[in-house]
């Protein structure tokens, strides 16, 4: 049996080259692969294209998320549903780099972002969605009417790597998420060539997870690291 279990976050991200396109799961906390992000920061890869709901928190914080890669200048381009802070009073390095034209960004409605990732992992060529019709996001995009309603043509997203956090896994890589930790995990695991997962709980033997309740089958999972007790845990934040 192929061993997908890695002993350290460092080992799991060691071979990621500069210029990679990486999907990062996580929504408002849950599902964010914080330990893998920290390891990637230490590893040093740069010129990254990141695909995620946001390019990290807008406010200063000691919480590890994509902001640490942005702040360290590792990100060349972000594909996200937020490219500015929710409020003009917030700012940060991403906003500064973006305003200065030193980071590229593609702003995508969140549902379209999810659907483009899903399409990337579903072998589709493109799809038509109603979101964004009649807005400035439709500029340069094909608008087409079906059954009397207008839709925008949107293209799939794929990546070299996906990083995500799940609750538990068996030795084959079958994953379960807990509650809203799930978010982008299942669709990103399918859209990336290599999927790397950090896990809340120790890995169990194949057969320990009910086949009807596997959220991400192991064929989509390549590398797993169990989060040690002294590593970063998802904790309750204030604000």
């Amino acid at each position: 049996m192929k061993n997908k279990t890695f002993e350290s976050f460092e080992a799991a991200v060691a071979d990621i080259p500069d210029g990679s396109t990486i999907m990062f799961a996580g929504f408002a906390g849950p599902g964010t692969p914080r330990n893998l992000i920290a390891a990637l920061l230490a590893q040093g890869a740069s010129g990254l294209t990141i695909i995620s709901n946001t390019p990290g928190r807008w406010a200063d914080s000691d919480i590890v998320d994509l902001k640490v890669l942005v702040d360290a200048g590792r990100v060349r381009k972000a594909v996200a549903s937020f490219t500015a802070a929710p409020h003009p009073s917030m700012s940060g390095v991403f906003a500064e780099l973006y305003e200065a034209g030193e980071i590229e960004a593609e702003l995508v409605p969140q549902g379209t972002l999810a659907e483009r990732i899903r399409a990337g992992g579903a072998g589709l060529g493109a799809f038509y969605t109603p979101a964004g019709v009649g807005t400035e996001l439709a500029e340069g995009k094909e608008v087409r009417s079906f059954d009397g309603r207008d839709y925008l043509l949107e293209l799939p997203l794929r990546a070299d790597y996906a990083m995500l956090r799940a609750h538990r896994a068996d030795a084959l890589g079958n994953l379960q998420y807990v509650h809203t930790q799930r978010n982008f995990g299942p669709i990103m695991a399918r859209a990336a060539r290599i999927t790397i997962v950090e896990l809340d709980l120790p890995i169990v033997a194949a057969g320990e997870i009910d086949p009807d309740h596997v959220h991400t089958p192991g064929i989509f999972v390549d590398r797993m690291v169990v989060v040690p007790a002294d590593a970063i845990q998802e904790t309750v934040r204030n604000g």
């Binding site: 929504f27 408002a28 906390g29 849950p30 599902g31 549903s81 937020f82 490219t83 500015a84 802070a85 929710p86 003009p88 906003a95 973006y98 305003e99 960004a105 702003l107 995508v108 409605p109 969140q110 549902g111 379209t112 999810a114 659907e115 990732i117 899903r118 969605t129 109603p130 979101a131 964004g132 019709v133 009649g134 807005t135 400035e136 996001l137 609750h167 998420y177 807990v178 509650h179 809203t180 930790q181 799930r182 978010n183 982008f184 995990g185 299942p186 669709i187 959220h215 845990q233 998802e234 904790t235 309750v236």
Partner: protein, 224 residues
């Protein structure tokens, strides 16, 4: 004139929640709209849906009882209720676009007389924050807005045409502001209910679009 105060957020949320019908699936936007869940009629069954993958979730968690892996679309910790279900992000938005959400309540920078909604980017600023707003605005069967009647600088948010980049064209049906409740009709904004102590002329003066004042205009209602 003691009662002549702009409506509170609570009053706006209460009024919007009065519109929720029994059995509706409701999506509440980040910020003010989340207050609506405090005011739903106890005999109406409402299912709250959140675009990060929750169907049928409960109220905000009290301090100390938060589950770090259970948040709503605003990133607030919520509690599960019996019958909750979790979806991935693609499925969560699939149901929004497919029309399973009966109403979304959103904040806004501006709402126009033709129903245009602007709530994702301020003109002149680079970048924006769309989140799920564009999907919700085109997918939900009803789009209601809650917002201050004017900007901090006093500029109207209810306008003839949006000056801010729009989120979706022609989608808003009902707006609650600090000065009243406004319905969007084919003829434009109708002032359905007015904040206590205000006159229609005063509201019109603070508004950037022509208001229709119907004979049955009444004082702003709340349930609680």
């Amino acid at each position: 004139m003691a009662s002549r105060e702009p409506l509170s957020r609570q009053a706006m949320a209460d009024r919007i929640a009065m519109e929720f019908e029994d059995g509706w699936v409701v999506n509440l936007g980040v910020g003010m709209p989340t207050l609506c869940s405090n005011f739903v009629h106890p005999e109406r069954e409402i299912t709250y849906q959140s675009e990060n993958g929750l169907v049928n979730y409960g109220p905000l968690a009290v301090e100390g009882e938060e589950d770090p892996n259970l948040v709503n679309a605003g990133g607030q910790y919520v509690i599960p209720i019996p019958g909750m279900a979790v979806l991935d992000h693609a499925d969560a938005f699939a149901l929004i676009r497919a029309g399973y959400v009966d109403v979304t309540v959103l904040g806004a920078y501006e709402v126009a007389a033709n129903g245009d909604l602007a709530n994702w980017r301020l003109a002149g600023r680079k970048g924006g924050g769309i989140g799920g707003a564009m999907d919700l605005a085109v997918g939900a069967r009803n789009v209601f807005v809650m917002m201050e009647h004017t900007t901090r600088e006093g500029a109207p948010r209810i306008v003839e045409r949006c000056a801010q980049p729009i989120t979706a064209p022609g989608v808003v049906k009902l707006v609650a502001t600090t000065l009243g409740l406004f319905e969007i009709t084919p003829d434009g904004f109708v002032l359905r209910e007015i904040a206590p102590g205000y006159t229609p002329d005063e509201v019109q003066a603070a508004t950037g679009a022509k208001l229709i004042v119907p004979p049955d205009m009444r004082e702003f209602r709340t349930r609680e």
